[in-house]
Symmetry: C2
């Protein structure tokens, strides 16, 4: 935390001219009526009269080949595996003009139910050992497609990054007999200064070790290693919290670019006592540079306590009402 | 490597309008004559008649407090240390209009000698346990200052990222009795497909595991854990290689934004057999998104073999001559 460089949270507000998006775009492969522009559908949440509310299609520019078996290749110090697996696009709404923060609660719940159904479906593929569900919003977050969508990538390997996180959590559990994520969540609830939102089943907070401004984690209160263990009542509640956090970012920081991802355990670690899944939301307000790339340390100019206070104060209901009356 | 999404290296060439920079800017704190706009100088490579050729000043917006002792604070699961240490800016040339790729060999050598002298100086501070020397070039690489400059940050902690890298290298050494970096370098020299440049003392290559297009590493051939162990003859040679690689990126990809950093061992690991310092150059041609942030895996659309071939073919001397005749 570079307090000598500290900036008020609102100084990171993105001020820019924005033109409203159309509700339908003729060239958008995700808009209703343009389904022929995308690969054949693999899942849908049906609407009325043959329409869809949420729709899943294979990514046209897939990072992984859908067919084939994973094969390790070892030569000297180098190991490779061919990139097979599943790469889905989840179209979150038929409306081109919306963004996740502006979807109503039922629609966010449909999207989360879609995540869970697809998650449970793809892990029945024996090649799949890990699943990442994520969303890129805005050009600074790595997407050029406006239509609200998220993605699911199911891989035949666990990255060393995920393994390290698991390993550290396992060591903590062996040492203290508890889940480090549960311990952190309880400490945060008692500290209260970094909490953004708290409901019956979830806690949204700015992590103590925030690497960048407004990084937000959403933890389930109930200990679960895998997102796949979630109950319907928990998903309902997550829809409320996720929508609220995204709306606070949207209204408070003027629709910043962001990425979110569900950080769940590898499939074989489902049910373990030492790991705990969570949603990580990273607004892309600053850029990592040579120091971060070289040292692995991150300079953050906004204290998580100030970011949390700022987000707590964003009154989503009033902002929505004012916008609707315009 | 997403070969299904693969792009030809030249497709990442940045095409943009650029206006030539002035040789002197009235408001630039790094231009000669404006020294009063920056904090007092801590080092210089003297030129003629009281002028300077390379100059080091404390960073005006330092990430670390220069004074004070590092103090650990432990509360529950949280540990902090106050951010004390050294944060220098190295002004690489008096000429505002240049960029590292366009400096002549002697000037690049002066800059590298400055790195080494500052490195040796700051490690005499007992608070310093690790030093990162790095450069940000271009807005996409996190800098807004045009005047060619690099930075040095000396910290009172080693990051878990650096520790993990060391730990893996140590395990490899314990297992095989050799330095993993030396082994990789020798395998690369024998494969030849990913080599960009090779001189008496250094090898520049696109790493087998390139996480992003045109990531380039420069390894010293002689085994050394710390940059601080470099000999003058090696620095002379590094000036040639570093300048050549940066010029190939500059002319081949039209002056892309990039970060470089010297990835050296922590001070206390100077001289160890298992670690090997190197320069990492990361052009900022693509952006990491939700999948990378969530999974710790990186999708690269340019094969390192194709990037290496592309860079080998960039004829810097001819490009420079053509530009000079314009």
């Amino acid at each position: 935390m570079a307090t000598e460089r500290a900036r008020r949270p609102e100084q990171l507000r993105v001020v820019r001219e924005r033109k409203p998006l159309p509700h339908y775009s003729f060239t958008c492969p995700f808009c209703p009526g343009n389904e022929h522009l995308a690969p054949p559908e693999v899942w849908r949440s049906p609407g009325q009269q043959g329409e869809w509310l949420v729709r899943v299609i294979p990514n046209k520019f897939s990072a992984l080949a859908r067919g084939g078996q994973p094969t390790w290749n070892i030569r000297g110090s180098y190991r490779t595996i061919n990139a097979v697996g599943i790469h889905d696009v989840i179209v979150e709404t038929p409306d081109h003009a919306l963004t996740t923060a502006l979807l109503d609660h039922d629609q966010v719940f449909r999207v989360l139910r879609c995540y869970l159904e697809r998650f449970r479906n793809v892990i029945s593929d024996p090649r799949v050992v890990h699943v990442t569900i994520f969303k890129n919003h805005g050009a600074d977050a790595g997407t050029s497609l406006e239509h609200p969508h998220s993605q699911l990538i199911a891989t035949p390997v666990v990255s060393s990054h995920v393994r390290n996180r698991l390993h550290e959590a396992m060591r903590y559990h062996d040492e203290y007999g508890t889940c480090v994520f549960c311990d952190v969540m309880h400490q945060e609830i008692s500290d209260a200064t970094r909490i953004v939102d708290a409901t019956e089943h979830f806690v949204a907070l700015e992590p103590f070790e925030s690497a960048s401004p407004f990084s937000t984690y959403i933890y389930p209160r109930r200990h679960m290693a895998s997102f796949g263990e979630s109950l319907p009542v928990e998903l309902e509640d997550l829809a409320t919290v996720l929508r609220n956090v995204l709306a606070k970012l949207y209204w408070g920081l003027d629709d910043p670019a962001f990425n979110y991802s569900i950080r769940t355990s590898p499939i074989e670690n489902t049910g373990v006592k030492y790991y705990h899944w969570y949603v990580s939301i990273i607004p892309r307000l600053t850029r990592i540079a040579g120091f971060e790339l070289g040292s692995g340390m991150f300079i953050n100019t906004v204290l998580p306590e100030e970011a949390a206070e700022f987000l707590r104060k964003v009154d989503v209901a009033t902002m929505e009402k004012t916008a609707a009356n315009k």
